[in-house]
């Protein structure tokens, strides 16, 4: 079919609870596509963005994914934020054989042929963060606080196993789950305070999601928990979230990401400048999932150029091994397990709502699809190049499922 | 129903009933007996407790003290409204209450004596007998022309009539009629009196009314309530000659 343009699907919620996070990603994609078109498009054709609104409604995600692929005939889709939205669209991508680039840090335990995971797997975020706290801050007692859904559950399972393997005792780990959008943190924050006043150095590892973070941090600040007493390291709080909080009381709390806006590299500076120009807002912030889309998009462009077609099968085969520079000075690579290599940074919150990088990994860390810390998955590997399998069991030598 | 109840031959027997609302005694140790085919007129000043008494009998209000025995066996104070209605006690309210969204005809149909359980109602079919009965009732309350109109469109007096029709349709053993003549013309009032007398030949009827002409037309024993208890009882002439009744009720 000779189309004049190459269509790219953008599947991010523009309304409902997830709009807060996802709207920016839609804009990022529009920005990237515009930039690419300025460079002359792809394969000699212009790129055309197809935006739909799945409205933070999971079945609607599947419906919209189907619409993008079947009706709009997009060449690839960039989208989703929550795990459940990804789970919801998975069967659609498999059935209609298209490509999804998923830009958000997630719980891992998945590797699908049609999905490319450009966000962090737990080993690219959670474990380095805990290592940092144990080493640098001499933390001995841990509060694992999260929203009750799969990402925090899995991450905390992994962390718990990891911490215990490092000799942390059960009574030094406190786990607490809260519902989505939890707004009243008085009790939990005072529990944390109590847990942290045992004499041993205590830190909070927060997998609290979305909206609930703002009241959580506000309560921390108000109850006078300073980062020097009990630091909090978060995996879902980035520049975007901080933009809605008065950060003065949060000075010194931490976040672990693969990208921070404050990282001083030429690539990043240029990206920020162009992005702010695109948004017509000199204060517009950038964040980690945006960088993931940047990397993912560039990888897709390269793979299409390499395959000389947008045919999903060919592009899927071309993608592993593709390298694209990230914004923090390294070069990320698409791995056979469809995850990418990323650097890990720990940043401290500064008064201006930005992060001050206090630590980073030496090189880039390869994302694990399957966690080594979990019983069910330690024998699994994903390899779409050699084994053509997302869950190859090294013990039995068989590919699971299907 | 197993507790020891006073033995009585009366159809309805109120025994020392008191109703207290936040300290206000609407009924005060009221006792009253109605025979099986008796008609009784109840009069008494506004707020004497006439409607409250009917509320007690029909299960709308639980008395603070005393009991209400029906047919010598049933303690009405322990039953709910539906059970009481199913025992055979029907009521016309002081302000007409009908099913506004239903047609006049359906209002009657729903009131007809029939199995009130859920599934039988679901599978109930219209029968010729039922239709005849409805026709007869509509004729009686002079609403035949209005049968297909929704009850909400009726005038105040027409609703009164409809409610009387609904009461008749239930074929209760005991009819409680609260101010049937209110808002009726003199002729209609007389007509209503005839109707009630006719019914009372086989059933018990308790009528509350302030219209003395009407009460006289009924020609039955009269009970005058005052402040929740019986003030006087007997034939109308005797009661209306009672000084206290004149004082609190009839006026000079």
């Amino acid at each position: 079919q000779a189309q004049k343009t190459i269509k790219v699907g953008i599947l991010h919620s523009l309304s409902g609870t997830m709009a807060i996070s996802e709207t920016t990603l839609k804009d990022t994609m529009l920005f990237l596509i515009e930039e690419q078109n300025k460079k002359g498009g792809l394969l000699g054709k212009k790129l055309e963005a197809v935006v739909v609104d799945p409205a933070s409604n999971w079945p609607l995600f599947a419906e919209k994914a189907r619409e993008l692929i079947a009706q709009n005939k997009v060449a690839a889709v960039f989208g989703c934020w929550t795990s459940v939205s990804r789970k919801s669209v998975l069967p659609v991508f498999k059935e209609l054989n298209n490509i999804l680039f998923y830009p958000v840090q997630y719980e891992g335990e998945e590797s699908e042929r049609n999905v490319f995971y450009t966000g962090a797997a737990p080993n690219q975020q959670a474990i380095p963060a805990v290592d940092y706290l144990a080493k640098e801050e001499k933390v001995e007692r841990w509060v694992l606080a999260g929203t009750d859904y799969v990402y925090p559950r899995t991450t905390n399972k992994i962390l718990e196993a990891y911490l215990k393997s490092k000799g942390v005792k059960s009574e030094d780990i406190m786990i607490s789950y809260t519902p989505f959008g939890h707004a009243d943190w008085q009790t939990i924050v005072s529990d944390i305070k109590k847990f942290g006043s045992s004499g041993k150095k205590t830190a909070v590892v927060s997998t609290i999601n979305g909206d609930a973070n703002v009241p959580f941090y506000k309560e921390l600040g108000n109850q006078g928990i300073k980062a020097t007493d009990i630091p909090v390291v978060a995996f879902s709080v980035g520049e975007e979230e901080l933009a809605g909080i008065d950060t003065k009381p949060l000075l010194g709390h931490l976040a672990a990401w693969n990208y921070f806006q404050s990282i001083d590299t030429p690539a990043n500076a240029e990206f920020i400048k162009k992005w702010q120009a695109f948004k017509k807002n000199p204060k517009a912030v950038t964040n980690d999932p945006m960088e993931a889309h940047v990397i993912g998009f560039n990888m897709w462009v390269k793979a299409v150029e390499k395959a000389k077609t947008t045919d999903p099968d060919k592009v899927i085969d071309a993608l592993p091994g593709i390298e694209a520079p990230n914004l923090t000075g390294g070069v990320s690579k698409m791995l056979p397990n469809h995850h990418i290599t990323k650097p890990v940074f720990i940043g401290e919150i500064k008064e201006n709502g930005q992060f001050d990088v206090v630590w980073k990994t030496d090189g880039l860390v390869a994302g694990d699809a399957w966690s080594k810390e979990l019983d069910g998955s330690k024998d699994l590997v994903a390899d779409w190049v050699e084994k053509k399998c997302g869950n190859f069991n090294t013990k039995t030598g068989k590919c699971g499922g299907a | 129903m197993t507790t020891s109840l006073p033995v009585t031959t009366a159809l309805l027997y109120l025994n020392g009933v008191s109703v207290v609302f936040d300290g206000f005694r609407a009924l005060n140790n009221l006792s009253l007996a109605i025979g099986r085919a008796e008609m009784r007129a109840i009069i008494g000043p506004n707020g004497a407790g006439k409607t409250t008494m009917m509320d007690v009998i029909t299960g709308k209000t639980r008395p603070s003290e005393g009991d209400a025995i029906f047919a010598g066996r049933h303690d009405l104070t322990r039953l709910d409204e539906a059970s009481i209605a199913q025992l055979g006690i029907g009521r016309k309210f002081q302000t007409p209450t009908v099913f506004e969204m239903h047609t006049v005809e359906d209002n009657i149909r729903l009131s007809l004596k029939a199995d009130r359980r859920t599934l039988p109602t679901l599978f109930a079919r219209k029968t010729a007998a039922e239709r005849e009965r409805i026709d007869a009732l509509l004729e009686r309350v002079r609403l035949k022309d209005q049968r297909r109109r929704p009850a909400s469109e009726l005038s105040h007096g027409q609703k009164q009539w409809l409610e009387i029709g609904m009461l008749l349709a239930q074929e209760p053993q005991l009819l409680l009629v609260d101010e049937p003549a209110a808002g009726m013309t003199d002729q209609e009032t007389a007509d209503t009196a005839d109707l009630l007398r006719e019914i009372a030949e086989t059933r018990a009827v308790v009528v509350v009314e302030h219209d003395m002409t009407f009460v006289r037309d009924l020609g039955v024993k009269v009970t005058c309530l005052h402040e929740g208890s019986v003030l006087a009882e007997g034939p109308l002439d005797q009661v209306s000659a009672d000084e206290r009744v004149v004082e609190v009720y009839l006026g000079r």
Partner: protein, 382 residues
């Protein structure tokens, strides 16, 4: 208020359309070549099937709201329970094809270290059992809830709000990963239903036809109920509940009956919905979903059954269309639709249509409204 016949004209027309669709849509999808103008594309099949399930849900809500005056703001709970029952069956059908290839446990249990299948998952590998649960789970919940609430004479907004509390509590419960229903991610990645792959066009077509049939039958059942004498009693209850009692009807039994029937219909709708959308997760319990269902009914025309179904179809088709065409503005469009319908089509789409075309004798206004929009019933008499 409604015509006494089960098959009045609107119902006949609507049923004919639904049944024709049950036959023609799958046929056109399977038999006609993709190029043909009459071909229903593959991606439309699950979409249309989904609408039909929503339509059935709306009919079930209209049964209780339109006729018995019970405004449920928690009907999504029954829908979701039916959906979960079906989802559990579908999960069991995955067998060893899950990512961990575990023969007993669904994937989400494996990675959260569950060791054995919880007891409430037993039996779901058999379709008949699952089908029974589709009816029983929502039915039982409705029975218990309704028995308590109607016996205690909880009515009006009080009832509405506790139905909302019910679905909200279930939402929170199903979110909990400890419950063993997959937490927020819910149940996904279904493979087979009754041995047929869920994504195969044939299965899709069959599911569509089944949904259409379920809608037709559900609608008929509701018509039969509301045109019976019981239906009249329901309307009487809706208008003057206590008066109905004084005539001897046990209001609580009548309400309980339709409430359970309605919950079961919602459950069936949910069960058909899940294989077509491919996921069931706790957000189906969200109070907002239930409120939306009520809104479909209002848009279509409360107390008309067919209208409720039409409302569900209209609003959802509108949503599909708007979210694609006006991704940034569609909420304005949808919100405006709701406001316009209330202001200008007070009887909903169907009611207004019928009135305008004189299909029926004029129905009485729901309340006696006089010129400044004032009802004659005092507000407190509720």
């Amino acid at each position: 208020m409604t015509s006494d016949r089960v098959f009045n004209r609107t119902t006949i027309v609507f049923l004919a359309i639904v049944l024709a669709a049950a036959l023609l849509v799958p046929a056109s999808n399977l038999l006609l070549p993709p190029g043909s103008p009459l071909h229903v594309p593959d991606y439309m099949m699950p979409l249309l099937g989904k609408y039909l399930c929503y339509a059935l849900l709306a009919v079930s809500v209209d049964l209780i709201w339109g006729y018995a005056g019970i405004l449920s703001l928690g009907h999504g709970a029954f829908f979701a329970l039916g959906g979960y029952a079906m989802g559990m069956y579908l999960m069991r059908q995955i067998g060893t094809r899950g990512v961990y290839a575990n023969p007993v446990l669904p994937d989400f249990m494996v990675f959260l270290n569950w060791k054995e299948l919880p007891w409430y998952w037993w039996g779901f590998d058999h379709f008949p059992f699952a089908a029974l649960m589709v009816v029983l789970a929502p039915g039982l919940l409705a029975f218990v809830f309704g028995w308590l609430a109607f016996r205690s004479r909880v009515t009006g907004v009080y009832l509405s709000i506790i139905t909302q509390a019910m679905t909200y509590a279930l939402l929170l419960a199903f979110f909990r990963n400890d419950m063993g229903f997959g937490g927020n991610n819910g149940l996904t990645d279904f493979k087979d239903i009754l041995g047929f792959p869920v994504q195969a066009p044939g299965t899709r077509a069959a599911l569509f036809a089944a949904s259409a049939l379920a809608l037709a039958l559900g609608l008929l059942a509701c018509r039969a109920i509301v045109t019976s004498k019981l239906g009249k009693v329901l309307v009487a209850i809706r208008d003057a509940e206590s008066r109905t009692r004084f005539i001897g009807y046990r209001v609580e039994h009548y309400k309980l009956f339709v409430w359970v029937v309605s919950a079961v219909l919602a459950g069936i709708a949910g069960a058909l919905y899940v294989p077509q959308v491919g996921i069931i997760n706790p957000s189906e319990f969200a109070p907002a979903n239930s409120i939306e269902t009520v809104i479909w009914v209002a848009v279509g025309g409360r107390g008309t059954l067919v209208g409720a179904a039409l409302g569900a179809l209209t609003v959802n088709a509108g949503k599909t269309w708007f979210t694609g065409v006006l991704p940034e503005l569609w909420l304005f469009a949808l919100g405006a639709l709701f406001v316009v319908v209330t202001l200008f089509l007070p009887k909903g789409i169907l009611g207004t249509f019928l009135e305008a075309w004189g299909f029926r004798r004029k129905r009485p206004a729901p309340e006696i409204i006089d010129e400044d929009g004032v009802a004659s019933k005092p507000a407190a008499a509720e």
